[in-house]
């Protein structure tokens, strides 16, 4: 199968410190790749690099990120804008700060559509309704400001923004870390449900191996800016080669029916 995103020898230095070293990663269409590692391992830097959103003053980048065979570092601003939010979109970790506090959430969704599609205002409003329905929010939420919504609702809004232009790749950067456990599950189920329907690829960034277990096809384990182990989920879970990977897997809380849930998620 042809890859949709290929990262080759990506090295990023910020302020003299190497935050990513020789990272290689391949994402296949319709597949879910998880990037696992503790905080500071460079996961978020990688997701920002894919959209070329690293702080341009501080960051020195070498290597290639190929989206459909084209290096994103060779794209001009216009091409990058067209790619962001349209072909590749992203949901950030912190739903409390990721939305503009002085703009109604409906407009924050529609402005993304307006930026990428040339369609009438009426159709945009139609899209908005569809998107809110898809993330299981009621229509009147659109006229709310972010501070009126709970964390889970805000993350649904973020998801609606990310999916508003039917992206080919969705980057989820710890999308559930800031939420409590029951809301986490709701959001994960929601994302996975939509992914099954629409078959986009997901790059799922997390520190939590139990989530990896639930969602991923492929796993990349990162430590100190390097990918130290990668492979299909089943293989990594059954026979992790790296000590660190084994350690992370051991961190999964083994409570109650954890063992029964394992096969179900396959």
């Amino acid at each position: 199968m042809e890859n949709i995103l290929k990262i080759k020898d990506l090295t990023v230095t910020i302020g003299g410190k190497e935050v990513l070293s020789d990272v290689d990663l391949t994402l296949l269409p319709g597949k879910i790749s998880a990037i696992v590692g503790e905080s500071g391992s460079g996961k978020t830097m990688m997701s920002l690099a894919i959209l070329d959103l690293l702080p341009d003053v501080a960051a020195r980048i070498s290597g290639e990120i190929l989206f459909r065979g084209k290096n994103i570092f060779d794209m001009d601003n216009k091409e990058k804008q067209n790619m962001r939010g349209n072909s590749i979109s992203m949901v950030f970790q912190e739903p409390f700060t990721a939305l503009n506090p002085v703009m109604r959430v409906g407009e924050q969704i529609t402005e993304t559509i307006a930026a990428h599609k040339i369609i009438s205002e009426e159709k945009i409003q139609g899209c908005l309704k569809g998107l809110l329905k898809m993330v299981k929010l009621s229509e009147d939420i659109a006229s709310c400001y972010p501070h009126e919504l709970s964390g889970g609702m805000r993350q649904r809004i973020m998801l609606a923004i990310a999916l508003s232009c039917d992206p080919e790749i969705l980057i989820l950067d710890e999308p559930t870390t800031a939420l409590d456990v029951s809301v986490q599950k709701e959001i994960l189920d929601l994302v996975m449900g939509i992914q099954k329907e629409r078959c986009f690829s997901i790059l799922f960034i997390t520190h939590d191996f139990s989530i990896v277990n639930m969602v991923a096809d492929e796993v990349h384990v990162m430590k100190n800016g390097r990918v130290i182990e990668k492979g299909a989920k089943e293989i990594i879970f059954k026979s992790p080669e790296n000590e660190y990977t084994r350690h992370l897997i051991d961190c999964i809380p083994k409570l109650g029916d954890e063992r029964e849930r394992l096969p179900e998620s396959e």
Binding site: L53, A98, E111
Partner: protein
């Protein structure tokens, strides 16, 4: 929101009392007295006549008692009358206030109109040539004593080039002009006082705008906006500006006192027939009722200005306008 407004309005009263008390005390602490100014070295006026004058206006009583009497009169909105020419203080102020308001509002408008765009462009194009030039300009703006700048402006544009009138607002001949020429003449008279008044605040506010825009640019929601693929102009106008305006509005409110106190200096330098010059002359004459009247009105205007900027803040920020934080 209504409660918030009511609370803010009520807060003005204790502030006015406190500020007026300090003004009253400080004013009486200054050496000198009204009678010596009014009658000077006139040998016809005897020492007992001076004492009578003091007695007539309660100037012989302790300061606290005088303050009490002043407040009592103020409650019925009686500001008293000038010790020098016996005109009612309120009438004196109302005849001068429009000139001051005209000067201040235009200055404020120009400060806002120039400083905010400078700040925003400097922040968006950080470390660019424009930003560097503006940094130098801001340093100069901060460092220049504005009364000195006013004098230089008069010297250069008034005398050397002879382009602009250097003092007054509407000289005698304006009575003979039609309304178009009169406006033109008024504008010409406004240029130098407005430039002098606006210069210092312009530097401060543009610097402040720059830093608040930079602060907003580092917010997560700006990253979200970029990740959405919005154009940079859309990101600046729809996401950065509105949030940065929140803190800029507050600073605008807080810069009012500087403007009002500046009016004392600039109206005197430019012979502008406004309240500031009235206050300055009253201070020089130990004309206590007029000083207090001008002081109270200036304080009141400042407090109202700050109040309005708070309301504007609430209006821009939905977190205050729409319900509480969840």
């Amino acid at each position: 929101m209504k409660r918030y407004i009511a609370k803010r309005l009520l807060l003005i009263i204790p502030m006015l009392i406190g500020i007026s008390f300090i003004m009253f005390t400080v004013m009486h602490l200054a050496p000198g007295d009204t009678a010596s100014i009014k009658y000077g070295m006139n040998p016809e006026v005897s020492g007992s006549a001076r004492a009578n004058f003091d007695k007539m206006y309660d100037l012989d009583k302790p300061v606290l008692v005088q303050y009490g009497l002043w407040v009592k009169r103020l409650i019925s909105l009686d500001f008293g009358s000038s010790l020098i020419d016996d005109q009612a203080v309120m009438a004196k102020i109302t005849s001068r206030l429009p000139a001051t308001l005209l000067l201040q509002i235009i200055s404020l408008f120009i400060i806002f109109l120039i400083a905010v765009p400078i700040g925003v462009i400097s922040a968006v194009k950080r470390n660019s040539f424009f930003d560097r030039i503006m940094t130098i300009f801001v340093f100069i703006g901060y460092a220049t004593p504005s009364f000195w700048l006013a004098l230089l402006l008069i010297l250069f544009f008034g005398f050397k080039l002879g382009w602009l009138p250097i003092s007054g607002m509407s000289p005698w001949y304006t009575a003979y002009l039609d309304s178009f020429d009169r406006t033109k003449d008024l504008i010409a008279h406004l240029v130098l006082p407005v430039v002098a008044t606006a210069f210092g605040s312009l530097a401060a506010l543009s610097r402040y705008s720059r830093s608040s825009v930079i602060e907003v640019m580092n917010e997560n929601y700006v990253l979200t906006a970029r990740a959405k693929g919005l154009s940079s102009s859309r990101i600046v106008t729809a996401h950065i500006l509105k949030n940065a305006l929140l803190s800029i509005i507050t600073i605008m409110g807080l810069s009012l006192p500087a403007l009002i106190s500046g009016s004392f200096i600039f109206e005197t330098i430019f012979a502008w027939p406004g309240m500031g010059r009235l206050g300055y002359e009253a201070i020089m004459n130990y004309d206590y009722p007029v000083v207090m009247g001008v002081g109270v009105i200036a304080t009141f205007l400042t407090l109202i200005g700050i109040f309005l900027s708070d309301i504007a803040y609430a209006f821009v920020d939905p977190r205050i306008r729409v319900g509480g934080e969840k």
